[in-house]
Symmetry: C2
C-alpha cells in the first residue's frame, strides 16, 4: 500500500493507488525540474551581472511562486496552483485536476523537508569553514565590529518597528533580529574578486562576519523559541540566551578536544562513504541536542560544523557536502521566494503605502547601522572604514534563513515579510555594487599582504 | 503556520504548533541517527567479514524495524513504534506519546521520499558507470549469459510459484522478475579484490551484468505497471515492453548524440554547483518522461545515467552523486529491511512451513539458473564457466529495488516478501564466499591481462 494512497484514501475513491503513485512521481519530478531550471537560469544571470547567485535563487522563487506563475506553492500560502500545470500532470497520470491538487498539497512537505536538509547542510558547511585561528588574529577589532553590527540594527530596528509602526513586540524583535546577520559567503567572494581578502580590512570583515554568524544564530535560536512560546517574559529569555551561549561554548571546546577523537574513529572505518556518513551522524546528534534543550536545530547544525572544523577530514567533508548544498539549499531558498507576496509592495494600492515605508525603513536601518559598525574599532594602522562597513552590509543566506524560519513560525505578517525581503535583497545587492565603486576610486591604505 | 501543525490541526488541539515543530525535528533527527548508526555499524562488520556492505544495511533495517527494535516503522506495516522511544521524544518535546505517534506517522513519508531520491541517485550512478564500449568487446558472450540469466529464472520462478505454490499470477511474475537482476557493484568489487576483473571471465560477467541491469530495469518498469493496473492482458504487456525497449534505445542513442550538447551547455555555466544541478535536471526530465509514458521512474533514472555516461563530465558527476548515494540510498535499503516480517520464517510455527519451503525454492531456482547461465556462451579460448556462473549470482541492490517497489505496490504477501528477501540475501552472501573458495583452489585458464 503506497503512502500517498493511504493518506488520500478518503479523498480519492475515483483514482487507483497506481494512478496516485504516478501522479506523485510526476508532481515531484516536475516540481524539482521547475525549481532547478528557474534557479539555475537566474543564478547564471546574476553571475554575469557580478551579483550574488543567492539573489537569483530568490528571484527564481518569486517568479514561479505566489507572486509569479503559481507553479510552486507551499500549502500555507492558501493560493491555487496554476490550472494548466495541474491539468497537464493530471492528464499524464490519468486522474482529474482535483486529485492532482490533493496529491500536490499532500506531498509538499516532502519537498520542504528536502529543503530543510539543504538548510542544515549549508549551516553545517558554514560552521565547517569557520577559520577560528584566523579569527583570533583580528579578534579585538572584529569583535567590536561584530558586536556593534549586531546590537545597533537589533535595537534600532526593534524600537523603530514598535514605536513608529506599532508592530507587535515579538514580530518587532524577530524583524530586528533578521537585520543582525552578515553573509560570510557573499562578502568573502566579493573581497576575493577585488583581491582585498588578505588586506587588514578584509580580515576584520571576515572575522566580524564569523562572529556575527555565531551571535546571529544564537539570537535566532532564542527568538524562534520566543516566537513559539508567544511570550516575552525575562526569565525564559535569559534561560535561552544562557543555553545558546553554553551550547556554542561547548562546541568551540569540542572543536579542539573532540575532533581528534572523531578522526581516530574515522580512520578505523572502512566501508565506503565513511566521511559523509560520520559527518551526518554528528550533525543529527547536534541538531537533536539543540532541539532537546529548547534551542533551534539550526544552531545545532552550525555547531556540528564548528565542532568538526578541527578535524583532519574537514576538507573531504566540505567536498562531500557541497553537492548536497548545491541541490537542496537551493530548494530552501527558492521555496522562500515562492511564499513571498510582492503585491503588498505595489505602490498604486493606497493601503500598501505603510508597508512600503516600512520596507524603506528596514533597508535604511539595516544599511546605516552596519556602515556605522565600520567606525567602531581601534587600530593603530590606517584602514578604510567605509570598506569595512560596506563589507558588513550583505545579509544574504543568513538573513534568508531567519526570514524562512520566521515565516514558518508565522510571526511576520505579509507586509513585514515583504519588508524584510526587500531589506535582505537590497543589502545583498548594494554591497557588491558599492564595494566595487569605492575600491575603483580609492586604493586601500593597507597594502594587501597577498592577493586574495 | 507550520506544515505539520496544519496537517495535524484536528488531531492535536492539546499541543501548540511550536511543540509540534519541536517534536517533528526531534523525530527526524532521531530517525536519521538510528538509521545511519545501525547501517554504519553493520556495514563495517560486513567489510571485515569481506561481505557486501549492502547486506549490513539490510540487516540493520531488520534489527531496528518490524522484526527487531520497532524504532523505524513505516506506517504501512501497521505496527506500533517502541513505547520508550516515543516516550523519550515526547518528554523532550513536552507533548504526550499520542501526539508524538501522530507526528511520527505523519512525517514518515518525508523519510521515504529522501530514500526515493537516494534510490534514483543510485540508479543514475549505475547508468553513469556503464562502460558501453567495454560491453561491445564481449558483447556476444555477455549477451548469451545475460539473456539466459534473465529468461531462465523468470520462467522457472514464475511457473514454479504458479504450479507448485499456487501464488496469484501477478505476484508470481513479480517474484520471478526479482530473480533476474545481477548486481554489477558486488560482482565487480569481489572480482576486483580477487584480481580477476580483467580476466576473460571477469569481462564476460561485468558485460552480462550491465545487460542484465538494462533488461532487469525494463522488466521492472513493465511488471510494476502490470501490478498497478492489476491485469495481465497481452496487449498492454506488449505496449509496455515496446515502450521500455524504445526508451532504452533512445537513451543509448542520446548517450552518443546528446552528451556533447550537454557538455557544451555545461561549459557555458558559471554559477557554482553547475555539474550536479545539470545532472539533476536531466535526471528529473528523464524520470518524468518515463512516468509520463506509463513506465517506472526508476527506468528513467537509469536511462539518465546512460545518457550522460558519454559526457566529458561523467567523472565529476560520479564524485558529486556518491555522497548523496552514501546517505540516501542507505535510507532506502534500511527502510526496506525495517518492513520485513521475519516471524513468517520461524520454523517452529507450523503455518510457516510452506513459506520456508517457498524461500528455499526461490533461493535454489535463483542460484541454479544463474549458475547455468555460465554454460550458455561460446568461446574459442578456455574459460572457467563456474566462475562466470557464480559471478552472475548476487542480486544485491537491484534485487532489493525490485523488492522495495513490489512491497510499495502491495503485490507480495508477507511470506512471499520474506522468501524474496531470503533469496536476495542468500545469493548476495553466497557469491563472494563461493567465488573466493573456487578461485583459491583453481587458477583461471585465461591469465589476467592486467591485475584488476
Amino acid at each position: 500500500m503506497s503512502i500517498v494512497s493511504t493518506v488520500l484514501a478518503v479523498a480519492s475513491d475515483t483514482a487507483s493507488s497506481h494512478q496516485l503513485e504516478t501522479a506523485e512521481t510526476l508532481i515531484a519530478a516536475a516540481r524539482f525540474f521547475v525549481i532547478f531550471l528557474a534557479a539555475r537560469a537566474l543564478a547564471e544571470g546574476m553571475v554575469r551581472l557580478r551579483l550574488p547567485t543567492i539573489l537569483g535563487e530568490l528571484v527564481a522563487g518569486i517568479l514561479i511562486g505566489l507572486s509569479g506563475l503559481h507553479l510552486i506553492l507551499p500549502p500555507e500560502t492558501q493560493a491555487e496552483v496554476s490550472g494548466w500545470f495541474l491539468g497537464l500532470l493530471g492528464s499524464l497520470a490519468h486522474v482529474g485536476p482535483d486529485v492532482v491538487r490533493d496529491v500536490y498539497i499532500e506531498t509538499f512537505p516532502n519537498l520542504q523537508s528536502v529543503g530543510t536538509i539543504g538548510l542544515f547542510a549549508l549551516l553545517f558547511l558554514t560552521g565547517l569553514e569557520c577559520e577560528l585561528d584566523e579569527l583570533m588574529a583580528v579578534g579585538l577589532q572584529a569583535g567590536g565590529v561584530a558586536l556593534t553590527g549586531v546590537l545597533l540594527p537589533l535595537t534600532l530596528g526593534t524600537l523603530g518597528l514598535l514605536w513608529i509602526f506599532h508592530v507587535p513586540l515579538i514580530a518587532a524583535v524577530f524583524a530586528g533580529a533578521t537585520m543582525t546577520a552578515t553573509s560570510i559567503g557573499i562578502t568573502a567572494s566579493v573581497f576575493g574578486e577585488l583581491k582585498v581578502l588578505r588586506s587588514r580590512e578584509g580580515q576584520i570583515v571576515i572575522g566580524a562576519a564569523v562572529l556575527d554568524d555565531i551571535l546571529g544564530i544564537v539570537l535566532l535560536a532564542v527568538v524562534v523559541s520566543l516566537a513559539g512560546s508567544g511570550s516575552v517574559a525575562l526569565q525564559p529569555i535569559l534561560r535561552l540566551v544562557l543555553a545558546a551561549v553554553a551550547f556554542v561554548a561547548v562546541s568551540l571546546l569540542l572543536s579542539r578536544r573532540a575532533a581528534p577523537l572523531f578522526d581516530a574513529v574515522l580512520d578505523r572505518l572502512q566501508a565506503p562513504g565513511d566521511v559523509v556518513v560520520a559527518a551526518f551522524l554528528v550533525l543529527c546528534l547536534s541538531c537533536f541536542s539543540a532541539q532537546a534543550v529548547g534551542l533551534e536545530a539550526a544552531l545545532g547544525a552550525f555547531a556540528a560544523g564548528l565542532i568538526l572544523s578541527g578535524s583532519r577530514h574537514a576538507h573531504a567533508m566540505e567536498e562531500a557536502i557541497k553537492p548536497l548544498v548545491a541541490l537542496f539549499a537551493t530548494v530552501f531558498f527558492v521555496v522562500i521566494g515562492t511564499t513571498m507576496d510582492l503585491s503588498v509592495l505595489n505602490p498604486l494600492v493606497p493601503e500598501n503605502r505603510q508597508g512600503l515605508v516600512l520596507a524603506v525603513f528596514l533597508l535604511s536601518v539595516a544599511s546605516i547601522t552596519k556602515l556605522a559598525a565600520g567606525w567602531t574599532y581601534r587600530m593603530a594602522e590606517p584602514t578604510n572604514r567605509l570598506v569595512v562597513g560596506l563589507g558588513m552590509l550583505p545579509r544574504g543566506e543568513v538573513g534568508l534563513i531567519f526570514l524562512g524560519l520566521g515565516a514558518q513560525a508565522g510571526v511576520l505578517d505579509p507586509s513585514l515579510e515583504a519588508g524584510v525581503l526587500v531589506m535582505v535583497i537590497g543589502t545583498t545587492f548594494l554591497a557588491p555594487v558599492l564595494l566595487r565603486l569605492v575600491l575603483s576610486r580609492q586604493s586601500l591604505p593597507s597594502a594587501p599582504a597577498t592577493a586574495g
